[in-house]
């Protein structure tokens, strides 16, 4: 890994060009998951991979732009969750940089943290925009159950998001980690954007 700060704003062209690819991978992940009727979305594999390859800033940008684009082309509602997607990219990028990309086990930890963060960020959005639900049948049933048992709305909504997000994000990070581990090394170095050129 380069010694350069992960927060640098001087982004390499390779890292910029990675964003559209990441968004395309997100999209195809979702299509394949649908094709195979998997009970998960798997629609953020590209964002997570971009974070692993190029750090938190590119990861966050991939996430945000992903939702803006889908807002503009498919479903305006998805724009609301741009913040959540950005947070996912940010968290994976930081944890990858801090050395949490060592094994399946640590990847699962990243997945749990990502799922939790996604739920924390989504909850206020869900409350502000639609009174606390997610539009996901299982999550909303859980929400209804909690609210009818006199849990406060914010907690019920958080529960709703957790049910929806955690399993999906753990699976997403595991899949992304397995792909990342298998990538040829020369793929990785250009995205890091280290400025260091060794003198020969």
């Amino acid at each position: 890994m380069s010694k350069k700060s992960m927060w640098t704003l001087k982004l390499s062209t390779a890292a910029i060009a990675l964003i559209p690819a990441a968004i395309g991978i997100n999209y195809l992940g979702k299509l394949f998951a649908g094709l195979l009727k998997l009970p998960l979305w798997l629609d953020s594999i590209g964002t997570v991979l971009a974070s692993m390859l190029a750090g938190p800033i590119i990861g966050a940008l991939s996430g945000i732009i992903n939702n803006v684009i889908f807002g503009l082309t498919v479903d305006p509602i998805s724009t609301v969750y741009a913040i959540t997607s950005g947070a996912i990219g940010l968290v994976v990028g930081v944890m990858a940089y801090k050395g949490w990309l060592k094994s399946i086990k640590t990847a699962i930890v990243i997945g749990l943290v990502v799922g939790l963060v996604a739920a924390v960020v989504s909850t206020p959005l869900n409350i502000i925009f639609w009174g606390g639900q997610t539009g996901n049948v299982w999550g909303d049933a859980f929400y209804a159950f909690l609210v009818s048992n006199n849990f406060p709305v914010w907690l019920a909504s958080f529960g709703d998001s957790i049910v929806v997000d955690v399993p999906d994000k753990v699976a997403t990070v595991i899949v992304s980690y397995l792909i990342f581990r298998g990538l040829p090394k020369n793929f990785i170095s250009i995205f890091r954007g280290s400025d260091k050129i060794e003198e020969l």
Binding site: S12, A14, P20, N186, S189, I190, S194, I197, L200
Partner: protein
Amino acid sequence: MSIIQVEGLKYKYPDTDQLALDDISFEVKQGEFIGLIGRNTAGKSTLCFALSGLVPHFFNGGYGGKVFVNGLEVRQHEVGDIAAHVGLVFENPFSQMTASKYTVFEEIAFGLENMGVERNEMITRMDESLDLLDITSIKDKHPFDLSGGQMQRVAIASVIAMKPKILILDEPTSQLDPQGSEEVFKVVENLTKEGITIIMAEHKIDKLAEYADKVALIDHGKLIDFDTPAKVFSRDDLPDYGITAPTATRIGKALGIKDSKTDLFPVTIKAISREIGDKL
């Protein structure tokens, strides 16, 4: 003065131990056409990257020696600045389209917009490039709707519009069908008439023999030979470097026909026909 000057160039990619370019030195005069030959991993692409500044600025890694293009030292300038002096076109036509423009015309404008070329000047230059590359008829098409050969010509036009003194072509025909390749070679021939210095890595040896003023033979990152096509293609050890001599040279060798001007084996069909014609 030479337009390209390479002095003791060494380079290795990040996370590798082997030198991809090992102590390479040569000079190119303005307007020359240089053919670059060698096997697939010899270092041809890396040398092309080094002349356009991508090595070391894009790839990083280890670097030594000096490269001057049109008076600029590559190491000291960013790729974007070098782009006004050196154009690069490579194998895959699809990935050379920016994927952000809706017509060929806009696609060609991309580089000029980035360089801040004033709009009228931009349009003049684009019309010239379209004309030179013979793609005016497709200028309103979407870049992804083109054939490989057309796309590759758009890629060349995009670079030529930036008015580089030097054009580097890294195996520009290897992903094209015969017709597409022929289209590309034809426009390259046009470009040589414009006085542009051309460096072309290419496996189609017969074509290279036809156009090249000089040929650079590379193997394992080293410059093995840098001389006229006649001299390089007359070498007996070409197969050791994964190269098959041009058809004309092989016929010449088999029949013992030499070019009467150079006393070397001929490299083009034209030259050997002339020799045979003279003998008959």
